[in-house]
Point group: C2
Chain length 329, copies 2
């Protein structure tokens, strides 16, 4: 078996790629701007040029077993990016085939949250776990569900959208998916900022460090900083966020009874500000037979490497695309 | 391979058992009263006597490949009935071992809803499906989740308790599990009767056929009969029930993206009274990428045979219990 895989993480802003060995060490990495190219061919040309340069510089030519790609709305089953997403090219995009044709190497793709779950299972906090749920708390809320050692793709390749369970059935916030009341609208970085704005309006007479910032400019990082400086309103924002997430996780437990939940992404770094109310709510809302069973852990992947590592782990299972040939009449 | 399996369905009132062949034909069946015996040994004695009589009468001695048992709170992994359930004996009960010792035949056990899912996958509406969710609407609400062709047991054997997702976060009804707001408290047969009682009280001036029945005696069957006779209030009870179930199913979709939901149990026989609002609510609350994808189907198992068939299907995968032996020093 060839000793390396190439991991590619395609985000709306940047595309990061790296050569990874079987122990999960990122040998070398690079990046290009995703948004720079209005057409996908130009983008693939630059990706190929830059990645090839990296491969040659590291004497890895002909040593890449497969390419794993994490990308928004990427479908493991058919290798397509299917739906209108935050990428500069029209969808659907037959991404696996395009990249495989370009590099002459087998390609497997999945969405970014599933890639993170695979990375965690292969190299991180979930090593040895057969049943866990990875929740990515970034601009949105994503999830990768592993049951019996396998990522759950569902019948169509789109399973594991736990950011879109409804946590407020009535009068919920508008979500990017077009519905209202989704977990993502509350427990993402964006959701935290929205909660802060709401609290600042509702509690108009309460002083807060956040009032020094123009209200539309407040980010989750601002809320975190204020909370760490003892700001009551900001701490309440985390209490509110963690409680909603913990309640939702108690509901996820009755579905697949994971041994652990692994939190990943910017908001997961809020530590006990988020984790304390989260654990309280999870415990308080947990069905009796599951009480105390599931661990809540933080991702163990090095943040700078995590996206590439997760994607790369998928490269080990990439297989050449076999074109269907019509049988002779 | 031996040509038959023995399926045993242990309910709070009756235990039904049957000899089943590889095509899913119930060759012969019998039953005993579960509650008749205060101790489990006496119960097992009668079960053994009656099942052996059935096996001999059908010339199936030495032709039973395995025994499959569906029982409340039965754990597939360790063969135990674990928690305090509606059975007359103290728990935990090492059921698989007890039955296997008694009959000298390998035994596999699981809870009743998982058994139903296995039966449906082996002999019923879910043949050929790798991803589906079975929802049993009886006295309670149970579920059996199949992902990638495998029943989801979770890390502890208790996954798939979808009757206990929270559908009303605040001021929800008390559920048998001790929490409030569970799906089961609304969408079980008991839940339908509770809703009818609530509606009769809230809409005190509205005439209804249900007012001819003492309020505490109203059953879901009474509500069904009234609805079929055009009773507005009774129809609204089904509208309410189907809507809550449909909303919950839209949330289940984002978890495992099943190709189908299969409804089973007494309430599933309410037909369009329940299915119409259910489909409407499911569609209205469905995340865009999943719209129109999952079928809602009714169980195809013959009702009289269903429990035994489901349990029996598990008998094909029963393996002898291997006792752990300490290695020599």
């Amino acid at each position: 078996m060839k000793p390396y895989v190439l991991g590619i993480d395609i985000g709306g802003t940047n595309t990061v790629f790296g050569i990874v060995d079987a122990r999960g060490i990122v040998i070398a990495s690079g990046s290009i701007k995703t948004g720079k190219h209005n057409n996908i061919e130009d983008y693939l040309d630059e990706l190929y040029t830059e990645a090839s340069r990296l491969i040659e510089a590291n004497e890895a030519t002909d040593k890449i077993h497969g390419i794993g790609i994490g990308a928004p709305n990427a479908n493991y089953f058919n290798g397509m990016i299917e739906d209108g997403v935050n990428l500069p090219w029209p969808t659907p995009i037959p991404l696996a085939k395009l990249v495989s044709d370009k590099f002459g190497i087998p390609v497997a793709i999945t969405n970014d949250a599933n890639a993170a779950a695979i990375g965690e299972m292969t190299y991180g906090a979930a090593r040895g776990l057969k049943d866990f749920i990875m929740i990515t708390l970034g601009t949105g809320v994503g999830s990768g569900i592993v049951i019996n050692g396998q990522v759950v793709y569902g019948h169509d390749g789109f399973a594991g959208e736990l950011g879109h369970v409804i946590v407020k059935r009535n009068n919920g916030r508008l979500c990017g998916c077009g519905r209202t009341g989704c977990l993502e609208a509350y427990c993402s970085a964006t959701g935290v900022a929205r909660t802060a704005r709401e609290f600042l309006e509702i509690r108009a007479n309460e002083p807060s460090l956040l009032r020094n910032i123009p209200i539309e400019d407040i980010t989750s990082k601002d809320v975190y900083d204020a909370a760490m400086n003892g700001d009551k309103l900001a701490r309440d924002v985390f209490e509110y966020t963690g409680t909603i997430l913990g309640e939702a996780m108690a509901d996820m437990m009755v579905f697949s009874s994971p041994a652990a939940f692994i939190l990943f992404g910017g908001l997961a770094k809020s530590g006990e500000l988020l984790l304390k109310p989260l654990r309280n709510a999870m415990d308080k809302n947990m069905m009796g037979i599951f009480k105390g069973k599931a661990k809540v852990m933080l991702s163990e992947l090095k943040e700078a490497d995590a996206a590439v590592l997760g994607a790369s782990a998928l490269g080990w299972e990439a297989k050449p695309i076999v074109e269907a040939v019509a049988p002779a009449q």
